[in-house]
């Protein structure tokens, strides 16, 4: 496996550089941030470029960012430095933890985990989602931003297989929706607004129930209870627990069956920073899973994701503060 050489990019979170680079430089494979910024962008591999093309991007603050799209090295007012070898990435799995120059590379250029094209979902006559097009590679994180009612939760539920798309195409983990919707559950961990826990049962009993539904062994229950720091109070009914504890149990339920894809709707709600940090290995970037993250914290979400999708009235929009006007 040939480790790709990657470019170093500095950027500020304010501009959605990554998305724009994606749009304008489709052959671009990897633009990697310094680990402190934690952002990895992966572009769609287009057939003509998938031969031994080399694409480079090095963007320095202060230079025109748009120009990074130019493949023509001479004309671009930016300095191009490194090279990524595209062809081999088509077939090889890139180890998420392999690093070079202290940078992290996060995924494999296989079939994307999520591929949406013109996705549409109606609610009666109203369009809850329209024209949503995005491609999320495996191991990457997609941030979905938007005001309340913009369609973020609807999108998450479509990806989970709970709602069927009315138009457009959607592929989640290789399964085509809505035809192969039945393949999706079991591979997806969904953390929505509701914890999906029964209040009369204890944490352990709830997890045991979900474990039975997903055919997961009981050792995993114990391991997760320890991971979310709920061992001591695992036998108390959920209705006696605080919201933060319930959220922790919900996270345990979400990753109980070791899903490839995480769909997280405000995962840090009700959690204090210490607890949120404890959960990072389970649902954060460290987990190595593909994630779709819905959050109202624009900066925070953008900081920990590789791709961003803004929604306004169900339609894609630029992922910035304009969404909230």
């Amino acid at each position: 496996m040939i480790p790709p050489r990657v470019a170093e990019v500095e950027t500020s979170a304010r501009e959605n550089l990554r998305t724009r680079l994606l749009e304008q430089a489709p052959g671009l494979v990897a633009v990697v941030h310094d680990q402190a910024e934690v952002a990895l962008v992966v572009g769609r591999l287009q057939p003509p470029l998938a031969q031994h093309e080399e694409l480079v991007a090095h963007v320095d603050e202060g230079h025109s960012r748009d120009a990074a799209a130019q493949l023509d090295v001479e004309q671009a007012p930016v300095e191009l430095e490194c090279v990524v070898e595209v062809a081999h990435l088509e077939h090889d799995v890139v180890d998420p933890h392999e690093t070079r120059h202290g940078l992290s590379i996060g995924f494999a250029a296989m079939e994307p985990a999520i591929e949406l094209d013109g996705l549409e979902r109606r609610y009666g006559e109203r369009l809850a989602l329209a024209g949503v097009t995005v491609s999320v590679p495996r191991g990457a994180t997609l941030a979905v931003l938007g005001a309340n009612g913009a369609g973020k939760t609807t999108l998450l539920r479509v990806l989970a297989g709970l709602l069927r798309p009315h138009a457009g195409t959607a592929r989640v983990l290789g399964a085509e929706l809505p035809r192969e919707r039945w393949k999706v559950p079991g591979k997806v961990g969904y953390l929505g607004h509701e914890p999906l826990l029964y209040r009369e049962l204890s944490g352990r009993e709830n997890l045991a129930y979900h474990a039975a539904l997903h055919d997961v062994g009981s050792e995993r229950i114990e391991a997760l209870l320890a991971a979310v720091d709920m061992e001591r109070r695992a036998d108390e009914p959920v209705r006696d627990l605080s919201r933060g504890m319930v959220q922790r149990l919900a996270v345990a339920r979400t990753v109980l069956h070791d899903p490839e894809l995480l769909l997280l709707d405000e995962p840090r709600a009700n959690l204090d920073p210490a607890a949120a940090e404890r959960l990072e290995p389970l649902i954060g970037r460290e987990s190595g899973r593909t994630r779709v993250l819905v959050s109202h914290d624009v900066e925070g979400a953008l900081a920990e994701s590789d791709l961003a999708l803004g929604l306004k009235g169900g339609r894609p929009a630029a992922a910035d503060r304009e969404l909230y006007r």
Binding site: L162, E200, L213
Partner: protein, 224 residues
Amino acid sequence: MIAAARAILRKDLRIEWRTKESVPAMTLFTVTVYVMFHFGLDRDTLDGELAAGVLWVTVLLAAVIGVSRLFAAEREQGGIEGLLLAPVDRTALFVAKAAALFIFLCAVELVAVPAFALFLLGPGLDGALPELLAILALGNLGVAAVGALVSALAAETRARELIVPLLLLPLLVPLLIACAQATEPLFRPVAGPEDLARWLGLLTLYDVVFVLVSVAVFDYLLED
């Protein structure tokens, strides 16, 4: 599918054991209705047709309470979603809910039938017990299947508590006919001609039809 149904059933029974929401209410309801019938009919004892009718109408009315509650916890706490997110055949939910309702009804009848014998039944139950158990078993099965379907159907409507009895009771009429007619000879002071086979046959037909129909359409109630 069976394993999942078993897990759901165990969960439901556990919750019912802890909250004691449905079964005690249903049981209390039947005993209260017996007392009301005593006053309403102004009779100390009943036999024959009247006894069979009172017993079955009361049980079916109590079933309405159980049916209303069947999907309540799921709706309130997102249980259905939890199931939809699991790689599980959705029929498992129907089987589990119908089984739960069946068990609840048996539990209720454990108290309600002796109570009926105590309060209102003229002739004794002895000798009629095996036949009565057969009728109860088949009857409960029918109520369980139809009840689970109706409960799911009404679960998403705004006027749930109103829709359940309106839907459930007409659908149960054939079952009521079969059960009451089958039970009537057992409650006669002097043993009369029986036609158990015919009514058990009708009951079985009813059960088979509604189990098949419910299983066939249940998926469509859950998907979106």
